[in-house]
Amino acid sequence: MAKKVLNVEDDADTRTFVSTVLEENGYLPIMAMDGEEGMKKVKKERPDLIILDILMPRESGIKMYHELKLDPNLKDIPVAMLSGVSKRTFLRSQAALTEFGDETVPEPQAYLEKPVEPEDLAETVKKILG
């Protein structure tokens, strides 16, 4: 059975693009439009990989990533960030959350900066899911 990949992304264009790449490479894409919806889908669908955007309305990728990694039931689901925000900025934001008293969280399995070529995205997914 095809592995499930959840894409949390507010931009319709990127969602279409990511789902097409996933389908092309034999994965089953699941879509969520923001962090709130994303968390619901994670719990319901138990995806094998989450591809997560950062700048989204309502619950942002920064907050959702933190939530995922602090939930003992979800923390082992691999996460690949796909964002226009640079990796450095993202890591700094995670560190900032830690300073506010949260636990330290590990770095994501992969970090892709937008724009991403279909081949690079496919390769990253393959590397994580085997």
Partner: protein, 512 residues
């Protein structure tokens, strides 16, 4: 006391005259003949001489000649006898002052002496006047010379070119500044060149009509003129000139030229550096935005290719939609850029502002749906058809409402009931007020200050920062005002005030 000399060969006359004149108060000397008379004249320098015309040896005419030779101012009175007419005439020619006929009458003598004394006095006065006049002329000459030199120095030392001509237009003054600006040395100009060759055509014709008195010419206002140097270089100058008159006659013309090369260079540098800075800022922001659009297009192409390979109609549609959306974003961007960079004249027509608000809401519906944002409208029923620029209203409101929706969607507060309210109202003095209010994320002071001032965006890669700049520009072009009030976490309210005119056929009332 006046000195007086009597020359006569008759002793009787000498004695009588000496006595009589001495008693009248003269200092009298006497001589018996011309030679003796001359000797005494040399020694005593009398101012009045009475001499007999007929004498043995040197006669009166000869004596007169000698005395006048010694002192042209001496007053010589000739004593004549009967039949001396020819001699008397000759004496007159030789500048004798007067005649006394023998026998000498006291009355005639005193009249003759009185006249002689007056003439001497007049001569002295005249001399004093002349001397005074000469002194004054020399002082004046000195002053004129000093002033001329001073003016000459002014002209010479001027940094600007000062060039003057005679009435024919031939150059007679050409200072160092002129050499510097025009490049010709003085030696090639003075009396060798006229303004027709040196000046640009546009001012030559004006100078010429001034010199030839063809109508009124005013060259006095400073203006920019490009001159050609000896080497053919075009030099920008600031020019002013004047036709020179003496009385009513044209005597020449003068031109002043200030070198503008350095100023122009600095101006150019300043403009270039300002433009570079502005362009750099703009380009950096826009490049990022355009890159995003490009990625959307690339993604769309990828999706479309995959879909075509598999003849998957649904996917073809979604790939095509991606391309269309991004083409739309490009065309919006280009329109915004054009609106921002170009002056747009308001295109006023009869229209219904309330209808425009409804159109804007309809366009925004797809964005609010699914995002938990509600759009409310509160329209003034008294606002009917007015004469105003509908495109300006449409564009501005679309931008503000779109921003308001973004402020709600990106509000990090959880579970709020987000609202965007659009209000129209007729105000006093032919002003329409539009209000777009949201209860979204709001802005802090720092952000609020930046929104109209530069290509500033709070939306990261989603925004260009052009929207509010264009909106403000549009409102100002239409003679209106835009205000913003905002509080972080509470929401933002924009107010637009636009002047309107009544329509010709008034269609008052509700337009719904």
């Amino acid at each position: 006391m006046s000195k007086l000399l009597i020359i006569d060969d008759e002793e009787g006359i000498r004695k009588v005259l000496t006595l009589s004149l001495a008693s009248d108060g003269y200092d009298v000397s006497a001589a018996a003949g011309g030679e003796e008379g001359i000797e005494i004249f040399k020694k005593e320098s009398p101012s009045i001489i009475l001499t007999d015309i007929k004498m043995p040896g040197m006669d009166g005419v000869e004596t007169l000649k000698k005395i006048k030779g010694l002192n042209p101012d001496a007053e010589v009175i000739m004593i004549t006898g009967h039949g001396d007419m020819d001699l008397a005439i000759e004496a007159l020619k030789l500048d004798a002052s007067d005649f006394l006929n023998k026998p000498i009458k006291d009355e005639a003598l005193s009249v003759a002496l009185k006249r002689a004394t007056q003439r001497i006095a007049i001569k002295q006065k005249l001399k004093a006047y002349t001397d005074d006049l000469e002194r004054m002329v020399s002082i004046a000459t000195e002053e004129v010379k000093r002033r001329a030199e001073f003016q000459n120095k002014l002209i010479t030392s001027s940094n600007d070119a000062v060039i003057a001509t005679d009435e024919k237009g031939d150059i007679i003054i050409y200072n160092k500044g002129s050499e510097r600006i025009f490049g010709y040395p003085r030696s090639e100009i003075i009396r060798k060149m006229n303004i027709d060759r040196l000046y640009p055509q546009e001012i030559v014709s004006e100078f010429r009509s001034g010199l030839e008195m063809r109508g009124h010419v005013d060259l006095s206002t400073w203006r920019e003129v490009e001159i050609l140097t000896k080497n053919g270089e075009a030099v920008p100058t600031r020019f002013s000139g004047s036709i020179l008159y003496a009385e009513d006659e044209v005597v020449g013309c003068v031109g002043f030229f200030q070198d503008l090369r350095e100023i122009k260079r600095l101006q150019k540098e300043l403009i270039t550096s300002e433009r570079l800075a502005a362009t750099g800022q703009t380009v950096a922001g826009l490049a990022h935005y355009i890159k995003n659009i490009l990625n959307g297009l690339k993604g769309g192409t990828y999706v479309l290719n995959v879909a075509l390979d598999k003849s998957n109609t649904d996917k073809i549609k979604s790939g095509w939609a991606m391309i269309e959306r991004n083409v739309g974003r490009i065309s919006d961007l280009v329109l915004d850029l054009l609106a921002y960079s170009k002056e747009r004249k308001p295109e006023k027509e009869n229209c219904f502002p309330n209808e425009i608000i409804k159109e804007v809401c309809a366009l925004m519906e797809s964005r609010t749906r699914g995002n938990n944002v509600e759009i409310k409208i509160d329209l003034d029923p008294l606002l009917g058809a007015v004469f105003i620029d509908p495109k300006a209203i449409h564009r501005s409101l679309l931008n503000l409402v779109s921003n308001a929706i973004d402020a709600c969607i990106f509000d990090s507060a959880s579970k709020k009931s987000w609202q965007v309210t659009i209000t129209s109202a007729i105000e006093k003095n032919h002003i329409i007020k539009f209000e777009v209010a949201d209860n979204g994320m709001g802005m802090d002071e720092e952000t609020k200050e930046k929104i109209f001032s530069s290509l500033f965006s709070t939306k990261g890669e989603r925004g260009t920062g052009l929207g509010l700049l264009v909106t403000e520009k549009t409102i100002k072009e239409n003679g209106g005002m835009i205000h913003v009030a905002s509080k972080k976490g509470n929401g933002t309210t924009f107010n637009i005030y636009l002047p309107y005119q009544e329509t010709e056929k008034k269609e008052a009332g509700n337009t719904q």
